[in-house]
């Protein structure tokens, strides 16, 4: 005797974004904290030492925020004009920043007034950085030069005049005190060695370079400019590895996640994209309200800080790992109902007479009703508000099962105004869902057949029927348009694809070879 086979609830493919490990990781952030700055946020830099404060350069100020503070813990306001590129030294004690007025200022993080002023540039300085030996400063300016300065004496050490346009970005090597890289609007990225007079490697990015980034291993270099993000292999003399074009506006900022597995790029198109550094595919995407100018990640990805053109600083903090785990654990521990089975672990002895009881199978309510052939009741159960809205696939499965049993008509018939309107509501809600349409069309036809005599008796039902009609008409128009687009695309593809010749041997009179072009299309995934 086989047991009753419960109705199979079909698992429908999830529409929309697919849930991957990456999405889970990057979604695990709290709602962003938004802070209004005085102007566009051009640069954000995290302090390398705990508690990992970060310096935000916006307009004429540099604010330093603590990891969880809403208010700046410190601000440097002594700029005559727009400040640029506030960066921490590797010990987190000093901060350097360029300025529109061509003066580079060095601050003690605990002080207020600039310790040193480096004067020499003739135009705005957009790039400042400390070298890895901590005693020198690299600056790049709109006067096409980049210079190295000595901190103790505040004197200029070297000037490089190789770029032919504004220098807007650059980075110093963390491993070698003599190496640094600059990117310029003349489309090139240059690697300089302070021990020699000129650049060692020149890489042509193709667009004005907005941002450069060195991998922690410093074997790979990432440059962003225009819509492109390019990866270069420095160990092979600046050979291009990959060119990524995933933004539709200029990429302004780059960042690496703490473990070096993911690369983030921010762009004026208001997106931050996360790439996997193994295959350079986009694995996640953040949307922001305005064009993004700067982006930084806290160590261990504890927070993502984004500065935008509308002078908003957005800080996303990571959700506390323990908190979420604890909640999940609690939910798992607590059963929905508790059953005490006395003597559950009792092992029968040799002389015991064993009376076996058949295991009672748990059936859902609609299944119980279906087993008793109570088709109307089963449909009622499946149309309960909770199921109808939260799990429409259950309602669908029951309707399908009734249709298979040939009793759908019986189940649909004999309903009062409330029942019918409930049914029509469900129809209207799910009719155009491609996953449900085939089944619901049958049901809708049956409903119309059964209840056509009562049309006009209830204003509620009439209104719903009109809505349904409207919906169907709209859907038909929509499908027509889609077909038109599809036809247009087909023509375009057909003309763009090269005509392929099928190899054909000369022999074979009897073998009537036909020349053909295989029409291949991309697979349509319908797997559930």
């Amino acid at each position: 005797m086989a047991s009753f086979k419960p109705t199979k609830i079909q698992v429908y493919p999830k529409l929309g974004e697919k849930v991957t490990q990456d999405t889970l990781y990057w979604k695990n952030y709290k709602a962003p904290v938004q802070i209004k700055e005085f102007g566009a946020v051009t640069s954000i830099d995290f302090s390398p030492v705990t508690p990992h404060n970060f310096a935000v350069t916006a307009f004429t100020r540099i604010h330093i925020y603590g990891p969880f503070s809403q208010e700046p813990v410190k601000s440097f306001t002594r700029f005559k004009d727009t400040a640029y590129c506030g960066r921490f030294r590797s010990d987190g004690q000093l901060l350097v920043a360029g300025c529109e007025d061509s003066v580079v200022r060095l601050f003690d993080v605990s002080g207020k007034v600039a310790l040193r002023l480096f004067k020499g540039h003739t135009k705005a300085v957009h790039l400042t950085d400390f070298t890895s030996d901590r005693y020198q400063i690299l600056t790049g300016s709109d006067d096409y030069t980049c210079r190295l300065w000595d901190i103790p004496n505040a004197t200029e050490l070297t000037t490089y005049r190789e770029h032919t346009d504004y220098i807007r970005c650059g980075v110093t090597s963390k491993l070698n005190r003599d190496l640094f890289i600059t990117g310029s609007y003349d489309h090139t990225v240059k690697l300089f060695d302070a021990r020699v007079e000129k650049s060692v490697i020149t890489m042509d990015h193709g667009q004005p370079v907005e941002s450069v980034l060195l991998y922690p291993s410093e074997g790979l270099l990432v440059s962003a400019g225009g819509r492109h993000v390019k990866v270069w292999d420095l160990l092979k003399g600046g050979q291009p590895l990959v060119s990524l074009k995933n933004h539709h506006k200029t990429v302004t900022s780059l960042a690496l996640s703490s473990n070096g597995q993911r690369l983030l790029s921010a762009s004026l198109d208001r997106h931050v994209k996360v790439y996997s550094t193994t295959n350079y595919k986009v694995v996640h995407n953040f949307d922001y309200a305005a064009s993004i100018l700067s982006l930084a990640l806290a160590p261990d990805d504890e927070s993502i800080v984004v500065g935008m053109t509308n002078s908003i600083l957005s800080i996303k903090h990571r959700k506390n790992q323990e908190d979420s785990k604890e909640i999940a654990g609690q939910q798992r521990r607590r059963p929905s109902y508790r059953v005490f089975v006395k003597g559950k672990n009792y092992v029968p002895k040799q002389d015991d007479y064993l009376v076996s009881k058949p295991v009672k199978e748990h059936l859902a309510k609609y299944d119980k009703q279906l087993r008793r052939f109570n088709v109307s009741k089963a449909l009622d159960t499946a149309l309960e508000t909770w199921i109808r809205f939260r799990k429409p696939e259950i309602t669908m499965a029951v309707i399908k099962e009734l249709d298979r049993r040939g009793t759908l008509k019986n189940a649909l018939a004999g309903r009062d105004e409330r029942g019918l309107s409930q049914l029509l509501n469900f129809l209207i809600g799910n009719f155009v869902d491609a996953r449900f349409t085939p089944v619901l069309v049958t049901a809708a036809e049956m409903i119309l057949d059964i209840y056509q005599s009562i049309i006009g008796q209830s204003p509620l039902v009439d209104r719903q029927l009109l809505r349904l009609q409207d919906l169907v008409e709209k859907e038909i128009d929509y499908q027509k348009e889609l077909l038109e687009v599809l036809g247009m695309l087909d023509t375009m593809f057909a003309s763009s694809l090269p005509r392929k010749e099928v190899p054909c041997s000369g022999i074979g009179k009897s073998n009537g070879l036909t020349q053909g072009e295989p029409s291949t299309s991309k697979p349509q995934l319908q797997v559930t």
Partner: protein, 834 residues
């Protein structure tokens, strides 16, 4: 054409089990049922077939326990004989020739040596009229007797065995036919007839379908076409009869049965629910639902502990006291509904085809037993006529048997086609297939063909399905893309089409490097690695209906059959037609283990078979008129062990065996003479003790025992001596092991002891003269020993003596010791090793 005298087409397995109602023996241990031309004896506990009672030359139409001897059974057949068997040993005791085909037969304890048979009326011109005839079985010791004393009892009866029943100890017999119930009383020699109207007001059909009589009470239960059951009482009066009606079934009642004590009435029908009505409290009833298929017969064991239902899907269910199904005897399910091709499961070497609705059956050809049913549809089956059910229409195995792909479809008139492609993975732990992926609506229209890439190293398994929507799709096992998925699932890898033509069939080459898809007249060859169209081949006119790649040395050939009766062979190296011949090939098959191909051709009402190699012009084997009708389903089954046939004509059968289904849904195969001889020999060997059911466990252990025995037998004459021992040693042992203080007097013991020895000598007949001499001397020795008995204090001495010095030993003890030494203990070692 070569003569092939020694290759025969034979029926193979899967005879009907549900043709007539089965019989349970008195001790409820065996179940007998008519199956084709034999009676099968099954064990009710292990479901295994113990004997087949063979001898009838026609279809067996009934099995009955002999009322006077419950260890014997009668069987009747269309060949006009009634045979008496001893079913415990499977021996034919007596054959009684009646001379008329017997459609059903009955016996009752009251009528000794009389059986009642239903046979067609000889006088009547129309063959549809049947009569009930009483036959006196002649009492003679001969094996073959002829029954001459025939007397007609009732005429115009229904040949259906359910339509006649004996009532209350055989006092009367009730027969139903159409709308009439006839009761014949043997004592009064008088019959009463009761009629019903054709249909009542509510439009039910009153036609009788079956009848059963209460064993203790004057009550007749009849089942009707409209699902009603009527209980007739007071029917020994013409006018004052009464009946009450029970109604649960929604369609015809097919079987009724009272329990032996008459406390319950069992009924069953197409709903596949067994209903137990309490007699005289008919409102109370028990149900046993979901028995799988429509019930055709119900029987109850004589002690009432077991119920047994036969089902329309060739199944017998044994039910313990109306609550628990204890055993299911399932035969091969055949019918018009077989829509899948015949297949071989590469793992279990079982034949696979769809049987029960929504299931695939795995049928072991070697053991002629259904291994299991795999539920493909996994939906509650609704027993209702006119309902469109999901049907399994296609199935395919991959080469290693790890994956199974099935297609199920349901086609309703109004709605569109519902199609599901399911992929099943073999689970090593449960040893069965587990659903891996369900793809709903894989294509827009029906799937015409499906094929796995047949590579042995199945790292990248690939499935191709072709459909009437003009596309073929390649499905591939892919790693989970999402985190919430558990394991790998199947995804569409490629969609191909060719000028909007409808693909009819597809085939992978043996190494899996080429895929051929036939789009009507054009065969396209693709490379599955890159999905490039390599070449196209065509041979108009006529659409290609079957495609096969050659194997092994013929792998460069691609064979196709076209609708315009052409068999074409293309050479893939030159992309040209190698040869073609005109024949109406219905099914083209390739032997997976050799280069051979088989083609079933339909010609003038019958099917011919050709077995050939694509590279050779002459067929290896051809046979005209293999069977009548078309053959569309066939399979090559690899043999477990290769045959060594040196004859050229039968060499193609060496590696694999060819099975096919005829239009009448008979499973047939080809056998060679040598094979038949071998089978016959093996069947003689396999005579099994009927007390032990033939379980795999028994076979395992039993074989081992046999080996041991052979081993022992071959030892020497020494063994013969030892086998004689137990009889003698029993008394010796008794003598030796009883404590001395409880033993009776020696004189008493002596006579007893001597007597036991005398018996033992007479028992052992096959002892050699030498052994007898020894025995005699032994006897003397024993006697002398007996005399010395008093001197021996303890029986344990024997054990002690083996260690102590020789002088203490008596002669008997010394001999015993010698014997022990000579014994071969190697069997013990063998036992330990195993």
């Amino acid at each position: 054409m070569v003569e092939h005298g020694d290759i025969r087409v034979v029926h193979c397995g899967g005879s009907k089990l549900n043709f007539r109602d089965p019989v349970i023996t008195h001790d409820s241990r065996f179940l007998l049922c008519a199956s084709g031309e034999a009676v099968k004896v099954f064990s009710t506990s292990t479901e295994e077939c113990i004997h087949e009672l063979r001898g009838h030359t026609g279809l067996v139409t009934g099995v009955l326990l002999r009322p006077s001897n419950h260890l014997q059974v009668y069987s009747s057949s269309l060949d006009g004989t009634v045979r008496l068997w001893d079913f415990t040993d499977g021996i034919l005791i007596k054959t009684c020739v009646i001379g008329y085909p017997i459609y059903s037969f009955y016996a009752s304890a009251k009528h000794e040596n009389v059986i009642f048979i239903v046979t067609s009326m000889p006088s009547e011109k129309r063959a549809e009229r049947f009569q009930l005839v009483a036959v006196h079985l002649p009492q003679s010791g001969d094996q073959l007797v002829e029954a001459r004393e025939l007397s007609a009892v009732l005429s115009g009866v229904n040949p259906n065995p359910a339509a006649i029943a004996f009532g209350r100890g055989g006092e009367f017999i009730a027969s139903v036919n159409d709308l009439q119930l006839e009761v014949y009383f043997f004592k009064k020699q008088k019959s009463y007839r009761f009629f019903l109207k054709e249909d009542n007001k509510k439009g039910g059909w009153n036609t009788f379908t079956c009848v059963a009589c209460h064993p203790k009470d004057d009550c007749i239960a009849t089942g009707h076409e409209d699902g009603k059951i009527r209980l007739w009482r007071n029917f020994n009066h013409k006018k004052e009869y009464t009946y009450s009606t029970l109604h649960w079934h929604h369609s015809a009642v097919s079987s009724l049965c009272f329990t032996p004590e008459g406390t319950n009435l069992l009924s069953g029908g197409v709903e596949s629910v067994l209903i137990q009505w309490r007699y005289k409290q008919e409102s109370e009833r028990d149900f046993l639902p979901r028995l799988g298929a429509a019930i055709t017969h119900i029987t109850v064991s004589p002690d009432g502990s077991l119920f047994c239902t036969s089902h329309s899907d060739n199944k017998i269910t044994i039910i313990q006291s109306c609550v628990k199904v204890s055993a299911v005897i399932q035969g091969l399910v055949k019918g018009d509904s077989i829509r899948t091709d015949l297949m071989m499961d590469p793992r279990s070497k079982a034949l696979v085809l769809n049987g029960k609705p929504g299931h695939l059956q795995f049928y072991s050809l070697q053991r002629d037993k259904l291994l299991y049913n795999l539920d493909i549809v996994q939906q509650e089956y609704i027993h209702e006529s006119g309902l469109q059910q999901f049907e399994v229409v296609k199935a395919a195995f991959d080469a290693s048997g790890l994956w199974l792909a099935t297609v199920e479809e349901r086609h309703q008139k109004a709605a569109e086609l519902e199609l599901n492609l399911k992929l099943w993975a073999f689970d090593e732990q449960t040893q069965s297939f587990v659903l891996n992926t369900t793809i709903s609506a894989p294509h827009d229209a029906q799937i015409t063909a499906m094929s796995f890439r047949q590579t042995a190293d199945s790292q990248t398994t690939l499935l191709v399905s072709t459909s009437k929507d003009g596309h073929f799709k390649a499905w591939q096992l892919a790693a989970p893309a999402h985190t919430e998925d558990e394991g790998p699932s199947w995804l569409c890898d490629f969609v191909g089409a060719y000028h909007g033509l409808v693909p009819e069939c597809c085939s992978f080459s043996a190494d899996g490097s080429l895929l051929a898809v036939a789009f009507q007249e054009v065969v396209t060859v693709w490379s599955p690695a890159t999905w490039e169209l390599l070449t196209t081949l065509s041979q108009p006119p006529g659409a290609v209906s079957d495609l096969c790649f050659g194997r092994l040395s013929c792998s460069k050939y691609l064979l196709g059959t076209t609708a315009s009766n052409l068999l074409c062979c293309w050479n893939l190296l030159t992309c040209s037609l190698e040869w073609s011949t005109s024949m109406d090939v219905r099914r083209l098959l390739v032997d997976p283990l050799s280069e051979n191909m088989a083609a079933f051709c339909y010609q003038s009402g019958s099917t011919d078979l050709f077995v050939f190699k694509p590279s050779e012009p002459r067929p290896l084997f051809s046979r005209k008129a293999v069977c009548s009708g078309k053959v569309t389903q066939a399979v090559f089954a690899p043999r477990e062990e290769m045959l060594e046939s040196c004859e050229e004509s039968s060499q193609w059968l060496n590696r694999s065996q060819l099975y096919f289904l005829t239009q009448q849904m008979d499973l047939m195969t080809f056998t060679t003479k040598a094979e038949e001889d071998r089978l016959l020999a093996s069947s003689k060997q396999l005579v099994i003790d009927d007390t032990v059911a033939m379980t795999p466990f028994y076979l395992l252990l039993g074989k081992h025992r046999q080996q041991q025995q052979e081993h022992r037998d071959s030892d020497s004459s020494l063994w013969a001596e030892r086998t004689a021992l137990p009889q003698t040693s029993a008394s010796i042992k008794e003598l030796l092991q009883t404590p001395a203080h409880v033993l009776p007097s020696t004189s008493y013991l002596c006579s007893m002891f001597v007597q036991s020895l005398l018996i033992s000598v007479s028992d052992v007949r096959e002892e050699k003269a030498h052994a007898e001499e020894e025995m005699e001397s032994e006897k003397e020795e024993e006697d002398s020993e007996e005399e010395m008995e008093s001197s021996r204090s303890k029986p344990e001495l024997v054990a002690a003596a083996t260690e102590s010095d020789a002088p203490a030993l008596t002669k008997a003890q010394a001999r015993e010791l010698r014997r022990v030494r000579k014994l071969d203990h190697s069997w013990l070692a063998g036992l330990l090793d195993s």
